[in-house]
Amino acid sequence: MSPAPTTPAPEDAVPSFADYRATGDRELRNRLIEHHRGLAAQLARRFRGRGQNPDDLEQVAVLGLLKAVERFEPERGLAFTTFATPTILGELKRHFRDATWSMRVPRRIQEHVLAVSNMIGPLGQELGRPPTVAEVAKATGFSEESVLEAMEANRAYSAQSLDAPTGDREDGDANLASQLGDLDPGHADVEHRLLIESLLGELPERERTIVRLRFWDGWTQSQIADSIGISQMHVSRILTRTLDRLRVRVEAEAEAEADLDAPT
């Protein structure tokens, strides 16, 4: 083993937020996240014992940390931990708000959902591809029927996050609008397109991003899950309820349009 260096090499030094703000360098950002990861882990530990996987909790906390790193303005004179703590706690609380059951689901099935959710990511990494239902069943020790039951029960999580305030409109909207423009001209209907853009724009930032990645950019649920740092089943849940909500809005608009067109 080589002796430890007496002075840290430049790449090991703690990068400054000012440098990151000035350059937007992802490498600097990642090092900042790594340096402050302990804070995320510490805050995640506060939420243990509530039926959530500790690794998932830490991932959620790191997502909050990432947001804090990106938004932190060192020139304001606030300590980073002071700034980041409420952001990370907010992300953890939102995770729990998302992960409450919206209807009575037997405890056994809730546990199955959690176990299946926790198994899919690691199993996919082990296999090098998304696992089948049979493989998930074998890995969890459940029957295939129980795994499918868990998939359906996954819908029964709370839809509260969709009632959250609309996210900011900065990310991805222009991109989404332009991609909507590339859709099959057979469905081209300017008013309808505007409606869809408007409905998507009303979604909270995270839901909008997930819908865009899955349905316009062609990412798989697992890829989105890995990218955002949540489980595939959480992505599934968000997609399902976002689509349910959008469908209700689209149908309501269609009915309103039909009423307007109807002879009086």
């Binding site: 089948t132 239902v133 209907d189 316009w216 689209v250």
Partner: protein, 139 residues
């Protein structure tokens, strides 16, 4: 698990070993049954877990579309869904009485294009129909 060729004509009176027929009231609250049957067929075909989930999203979209075109006001119409497990694909067809031609919103069309390999919707002649295919990609 080898059924008929994809797109073969459906005989609604009998089913083969790899076919399922489901008849449910054309009401959204019964779509859970359609999703469960869909998930089961997808799983039997060896689709990945998340592909099964994709298939469930697709069945929801298409059933909603033909139910909207078949709306009798009291949900008294019957939605019939025919599932076939082919060696390399899941094929699902649905019919529901309805005079209005069903149509997909642009959003639904984008969703379906992302989650299944083929989808069709037709009607306006007294019966609304859909058909979709998702191919098995895993070895």
């Amino acid at each position: 698990m080898v059924g008929d060729e994809v797109g073969a004509t459906v005989d609604e009176t009998t089913v083969d070993d790899d076919e399922i027929l489901l008849a449910i009231p054309a009401k959204p609250e019964f779509l859970r049954l359609a999703r469960i049957a869909t998930a089961d067929v997808g799983s039997r075909c060896g689709l990945a877990y998340e592909e099964v989930d994709d298939l469930r999203i697709a069945i929801d979209e298409l059933c909603h579309a033909i139910m909207a075109a078949s709306d009798s006001g009291d949900g008294s119409r019957t939605l019939r869904i025919h599932f076939t497990a082919h060696a390399d694909a899941v094929e699902i067809e649905g019919t529901c009485p309805g005079d209005v031609a069903p149509r997909l919103s642009e959003l639904s069309a984008a969703i379906l294009a992302a989650v299944v390999d083929e989808h069709e919707l037709s009607g306006g002649d007294g019966t609304s129909r859909f058909r979709m295919v998702k191919r098995v990609t895993l070895p």
